[in-house]
């Protein structure tokens, strides 16, 4: 078997694949954060909890209502998105205009509540969700074995990322969003319903997180606490990439997944820490982040 730096090539490819998949999740999540941050100027600390809700929702829809993966792929994000709209309407809206730190703390409280309540009902040991039959097995690429589901995750996650980027940068709706970031009051003056736009934006950002949750359900262990760790990693990704650009959030997400995968191959003990170390280095060399514009 061919080796590279003392590591079998197959292992390297395998870890690289896992890295790209993790990266796809980081990209989806940091994209959602960036969308919400763009218009609402808040860091959604409940983003990890929304990702978790998406995954839990998928499992519960199947267990109790027999709803399959394909329906859940649409239904779960919509349901969780509605939860998001409710949170925005009843909680976040009340502290709009206050220091942004308060919205961070508010969403942190919401995350604690969601995570705590679900832990009481389902424990932390993890629910089982079986892979849809369509995705059983995989294909041999010659240099490595690629399970179908993993290929699907990468493709669909990147498609959604690209779609979001396209919508925000190239469509009319996106131009409203970007205008709202610049000057919400003026937008209101032009007759655009800004509060509605804000609710929908929050709901959409949350939907992206929930969508990532559905994708995660068949391959990661689904627990009420699954969102909290990945959220901290995604925060680091966001700091590395800067939230100035949507494209930047996507690229940084995938890149960091790959970096993590490579570290797992060559020096496993550092794999859970490497993204944070990259963050430190980036902060020291380029404090605004790789794609950031703001100070």
């Amino acid at each position: 078997m061919s080796m590279i730096f003392g590591v079998p090539l197959a292992v390297l490819w395998g870890q690289l694949l896992i890295g790209i998949i993790n990266g796809a999740f980081y990209a989806l999540l940091s994209l959602g954060l960036a969308v919400i941050f763009g218009l609402l100027k808040i860091i959604n600390f409940a983003h990890g909890a929304m990702y978790m809700l998406g995954a839990m929702c998928t499992v519960l829809l199947f267990d109790y209502l027999g709803i399959n993966y394909w329906v859940a792929l649409f239904l779960a994000p919509v349901l969780v998105g509605l939860v998001g709209v409710v949170i925005e309407y009843f909680l976040l809206r009340r502290i709009a205009g206050q220091d942004h730190i308060y919205s961070l703390l508010l969403t942190f409280g919401v995350a604690l509540m969601l995570q705590g309540v679900l832990t009481n009902f389902f424990g932390v040991s993890g629910l089982r969700y079986s892979m849809p039959d369509t995705f059983q097995g995989g294909m041999n690429l010659g240099f490595m074995f690629l399970p179908y589901y993993r290929a699907w995750v990468i493709v669909v996650a990147l498609l959604v990322c690209f779609g979001t980027w396209f919508m925000i940068e190239k469509t009319k709706l996106g131009s409203y969003l970007r205008a709202g970031t610049e000057d919400a009051q003026l937008m209101q003056g032009f007759g655009i319903n800004v509060p509605l736009l804000v609710s929908l934006t929050y709901g959409f950002g949350v939907m992206l997180a929930a969508f990532a949750g559905v994708l995660a359900a068949p391959i990661y262990s689904v627990t009420p606490v699954m969102g909290s760790h990945i959220l901290i990693v995604v925060f680091a990704v966001v700091v590395i990439g800067g939230m100035g650009s949507i494209g930047g959030a996507i690229i940084t997400g995938v890149l960091m997944g790959v970096v993590e995968g490579l570290t797992k191959t060559f020096y496993p003990p550092a794999s859970s820490a490497v993204i944070f170390l990259v963050m430190v280095v980036v902060l020291l060399i380029r404090p605004t982040g790789l794609f950031g514009k703001e100070a």
Binding site: I42, I43, L91, R94, I95, Q98, H100, I101, Y102, L104, L105, L106, F108, G109, V110, A111, L112, M113, L114, Q115, G116, V117, T119, N120, S228, I232, V233, F235, A236, V238, V239, P269, S272, A273, F276, L277, M279, V280, L283, L284, P287, A295
Partner: protein, 331 residues
């Protein structure tokens, strides 16, 4: 039309108001001190010490959050760094007296705080919070994987030892008065810091950083120093906690703990001196009462609810709201 007024008279009035305020504060502090001195005869001393350690932790955090306007989401790292260092030294170096162990723990937390500060002040606002959270997670992983911390099991049976090699701290009363002394000293230290010209600059940074910069203050240096003092006191709290409970565990390093200290400060009243103390007392008591009753599994969601409620309804916290009420009704 404003009435012509004598500058000297106004000055005199302000001075007298200040004197009256000082007297009131002195009396309040005196009553509190008396209560704290007799408390161990009325309540379980270990529980009181737990409150004091968390109160110190919250006071330290508040110096940064309440007075400088920097939200650190990584203060658990300092609590744990202090606790683990002290625990390790006291467990493995039999000749070491307790106060040296605690000082060493504080020192390690201080240095860690310096490193955190130098990295995190490069970003502002919510980014600052995210960076500190990520750095604390890095420290958490270090503690998980290190041999000396005992990993998931934590450190147990840390000897309390003897203070200055003379006073046995195995006696809960001795331990209590030691913790109380340290707490009071730190409380007054923070009071001095906040009242000093240095503290005034911190407040200026909180209110309007660009203006502080334009006035010629080297804002970054002030921020770093505030961060380091805060980290040192948080480390001291952690060191004492590990001696009191004779254990140090990963719980102290978890992001959950960073959230808890924010909650304590917020509930008590950020930016007030007494607020974090009240908040810590409140949170520790609520946790204890809940853990005894039928709601013992609901501690987390309830604390989350308190968080949401505080942010929505009373951002000034218990002490802040009382101050507002007094100002409104009692002049």
């Amino acid at each position: 039309m404003t009435q012509p007024v004598n500058q000297a008279e106004i000055h005199q009035a302000i001075l007298e108001q200040q004197k009256a305020d000082d007297r009131k504060r002195l009396m309040a502090n005196g009553v509190l001190l008396l209560l704290l001195l007799v408390a161990p005869f009325l309540m379980y001393p270990v529980f009181l010490m737990k409150i004091l350690c968390f109160a110190l932790f919250a006071v330290a955090f508040n110096l940064l959050f309440g007075f400088t306007g920097l939200l650190s989401f990584g203060h658990a790292a300092f609590l744990a760094a202090g606790g683990y260092t002290t625990g390790y030294l006291l467990s493995n170096m039999p000749g070491l007296t307790t106060e040296v162990g605690i000082l060493a723990g504080t020192l390690v937390a201080t240095l860690l705080g310096l490193a955190f500060a130098l990295i995190s002040i490069r970003r502002q606002g919510i980014y600052f919070a995210m960076v500190t959270l990520a750095l604390a997670q890095l420290v958490f992983f270090f503690f998980v994987q290190s041999e000396f911390t005992g990993g998931e099991d934590g450190m147990h049976g840390i000897p309390r030892g003897e203070l200055f090699g003379l006073i046995s701290l195995d006696n809960n009363l001795n331990m209590y008065y030691f913790v109380l002394t340290v707490f009071i000293a730190c409380y007054f230290l923070v009071q001095r810091v906040v009242g000093s010209p240095f503290g005034q600059v911190l407040k200026a940074i909180k209110q309007n950083e660009p203006r502080a910069v334009s006035l010629g203050y080297k804002v970054d240096r002030y921020k770093v120093l505030a961060f380091v003092i805060s980290a040192a006191l948080a480390g001291l709290a952690g060191s004492m906690k590990s001696v009191v409970f004779q254990l140090a565990s990963l719980n102290d390093a978890h992001w959950h703990m960073s959230g808890e200290v924010i909650l304590m400060t917020l509930v008590g009243g950020m930016g007030t001196l007494l607020g974090p103390v009240v908040g810590a007392t409140f949170v520790v008591n609520v946790e204890y009462q809940l853990s005894q009753g039928p709601l013992r599994d609901w501690v987390d969601p309830i604390l989350g609810g308190v968080f949401v409620l505080t942010v929505l309804a009373f951002r000034s916290g218990i002490v802040g709201e009382i101050q507002k009420f007094m100002k409104k009704n009692l002049g």
